[in-house]
């Protein structure tokens, strides 16, 4: 009799403590809504979330299934994007879809697709620094800005065309990356992140305040789009193909470099820096390479961005942008090239899809990232371990 009573009691205690966690999470989530929608809505959300999370909690077997499903799903996507042989049909279908897309959809979608392309280039560049080499760079947007402004200034001040200005954009951005890296790479981990963050802010403030050069917050307008043999790429669908070609180029080169000696050195540095230097790897030099190589792509993306927008202003290069690019890399899977591309896709498309609920875009992004870190900390497509041979 007594023991049974005890049992019941302890069972109650158990359910209580298991119930407490979802309720705390629900409270936290609803607090997020408080500033947007006021007190009443927050309470409503709290109720909704608690019911939702509690039911999730008590249907916890489903959580396991859900996580498994997610794993299987991402594995499928991974196989789709990586395996060469069985999916040749799917691959060519995808390619066909990409190539014919501009003929089938509204300009708005082409616009978004161009943006996706630019962010894919950016994310692939940041992936070299963060994913391959393991150096946290929180000021990546500064290099994007340098690339964009270099083309903008060369074009509007000296009338230099896109193709002649592009090498300048690339070289200046890489050199900036190199120069920042020389002092910054004496630091490690968090300290490096803080320095790069500071650099990003400095770059933005310079652009914002150097009125005579950059026209400050007004930005630079009237940038000419690229042209080949006097055919302008001003038309969206033309620009789409241009960006697509550059994405392929970026993809190809980063993959090749990753599989090379340099890529091996990067991976060794990420895994264990002391061991890497004991192996005879010049760690400082290869970290510099990683910085310069990663920022090179930011320069390319920047030039493409100014060419497309035909307008640049410091507003496009805030810290939030750095975070967004970093999120793409982390969401997709650090160091995984298909993962990073996927991450860029999602994070560009998501805000567009969620345009209706604009207010909650960042919120849902945050919630999404938190959930992902719980269910798939290695990133959506980061399931396979990072291999040297792709």
């Amino acid at each position: 009799m007594r023991s049974e009573e005890l049992k019941v009691k302890s069972f109650d205690m158990n359910t209580l403590s298991t119930a407490a966690k979802p309720i705390i999470i629900a409270l936290w989530l609803s607090l997020l809504f408080l500033p947007f929608k006021g007190f009443k809505a927050a309470i409503l959300f709290f109720a909704i979330f608690s019911v939702l999370l509690l039911s999730l909690k008590f249907l916890s077997p489903y959580k396991k299934i859900f996580a498994e499903r997610l794993q299987i799903f991402s594995k499928k996507i991974y196989l789709l994007s990586v395996n060469r042989y069985p999916s040749i049909v799917i691959r060519s279908a995808l390619l066909l879809l990409i190539l014919t897309m501009p003929f089938m959809v509204r300009d708005y979608f082409i616009d978004v697709a161009i943006l996706v392309g630019i962010y894919v280039i950016l994310a692939l560049g940041l992936n070299v620094v963060v994913g391959f080499t393991g150096l946290l760079n929180l000021g990546f947007v500064a290099f994007y800005a340098i690339g964009a402004y270099t083309y903008a200034l060369l074009n509007t001040k000296f009338g230099i065309g896109f193709w002649s200005a592009l090498p300048f954009s690339l070289v200046i951005t890489s050199v900036a990356g190199f120069l920042l890296a020389i002092p910054a790479l004496r630091l490690r981990g968090d300290y490096l992140a803080i320095v790069t963050l500071g650099f990003g802010e400095i770059a933005r403030l310079i652009l914002n305040n150097w009125d005579s050069m950059t026209r400050g917050p007004n930005g630079i307008s009237g940038i000419a789009p690229p042209e080949i043999l006097s055919i302008s790429f001003g038309k969206l669908s033309h620009y789409y193909y241009l960006v697509f070609l550059f994405v392929i180029l970026t993809l190809f080169i980063t993959r090749r470099v990753y599989a090379s000696r340099i890529g091996r050195a990067w991976v060794a540095i990420r895994e264990d820096e002391i061991a890497a230097s004991a192996m005879g790897i010049n760690t400082t030099l290869y970290k510099l390479y990683a910085f310069a190589f990663g920022t090179f792509w930011a320069g390319l993306a920047g030039a493409l961005f100014s060419g497309k927008m035909q307008f640049v202003s410091p507003e496009s290069f805030t810290f939030m942008e750095s975070v967004l690019i970093l999120c793409m890399v982390i969401l997709g899977g650090l160091g995984s090239i298909p993962g990073v591309i996927f991450g860029a896709f999602i994070l560009v498309l998501l805000p567009e899809v969620l345009r209706e609920v604009q207010l909650y875009r960042m919120l849902s992004l945050g919630v999404g990232l938190v959930l992902m870190m719980i269910f798939r900390p290695q990133g959506l497509l980061g399931g396979k371990r990072v291999s040297l041979r792709s």
């Binding site: 091996r264 002391i274 230097s277 192996m279």
Partner: protein, 229 residues
């Protein structure tokens, strides 16, 4: 082959090595023994270039290598098995070994696989999934990949079962017989000294005793302090 003359190394304001003189001759096994914090690992790190000596010089085959960056020192033929093994956990065993041959253009795995057959069996496995002893073998194999003239071993017996330790020590002897000079840092003084031609005893950054391995083994002072007799 290797000579350290009056080496002083600092960690910030702390003087970890206070004038160390060591000589390693071609073909020898030399061991450095001493307590925690005596400066054994610091000595190795200074030789391999990860730490820079504040004063004194290091001469390897007639060339001063003090203050050279680590990658240059590896190229000169000094290879290090770092303390705590430091294998690359997320790379496969084969990739770990290939990393060891980074300064070489040819990768020769056969010799290592002959020395450690278990590594051959598991070459596709991730480094981090190996047991401690196997990781130590991997670390030694990786260091040998660069075909060193001098091998620096930092506490190869750390955290391993006695049976594995004796196996590792036997392998070290084999490696030495193949013509690789070995500088060994150990806390396991008895095992190390049995193996060595020469031993140095470090205490708080200074060498307090040196001599032939068998001589140190019967030294009263040392017996009391390190051999627990």
């Amino acid at each position: 082959m290797l000579k350290l003359n009056g080496i002083h190394t600092f960690y910030g304001p702390i003087e970890a090595l206070r004038g160390i003189n060591i000589e390693v001759k071609q073909g020898e096994i030399v061991s450095l023994i001493g307590n925690n914090g005596a400066g054994k690992s610091t000595t190795l790190m200074t030789i391999s270039g990860i730490l820079k000596p504040q004063a004194g010089d290091i001469v390897f085959e007639g060339e001063g290598i003090g203050g050279m960056p680590p990658h240059r020192i590896v190229e000169m033929g000094i290879s290090q098995v770092p303390e705590g093994r430091r294998i690359f956990p997320r790379l496969t065993i084969k990739e770990n070994l290939e990393m060891g041959a980074y300064t070489k253009f040819k990768v020769q795995l056969d010799k290592i696989f002959e020395l450690f057959p278990v590594l051959k069996e598991r070459q596709k496995q991730l480094g981090g999934t190996l047991s401690g002893g196997e990781q130590q073998m991997l670390a030694i194999g990786r260091a040998l990949m660069s075909n060193p003239k001098l091998l620096l071993l930092d506490e190869p017996s750390l955290g391993l079962a006695p049976i594995i330790v004796s196996k590792i020590f036997r392998t070290i002897k084999d490696i030495n017989r193949e013509g690789v000079t070995v500088l060994l840092v150990e806390q396991n003084a008895r095992a190390a000294l049995k193996l060595s031609n020469k031993g140095y005893v470090l205490e708080t950054g200074k060498i307090v005793l040196e001599g032939k391995g068998e001589y140190l083994l019967i030294n009263e002072q040392l017996k009391k302090a390190y051999l627990g007799e």
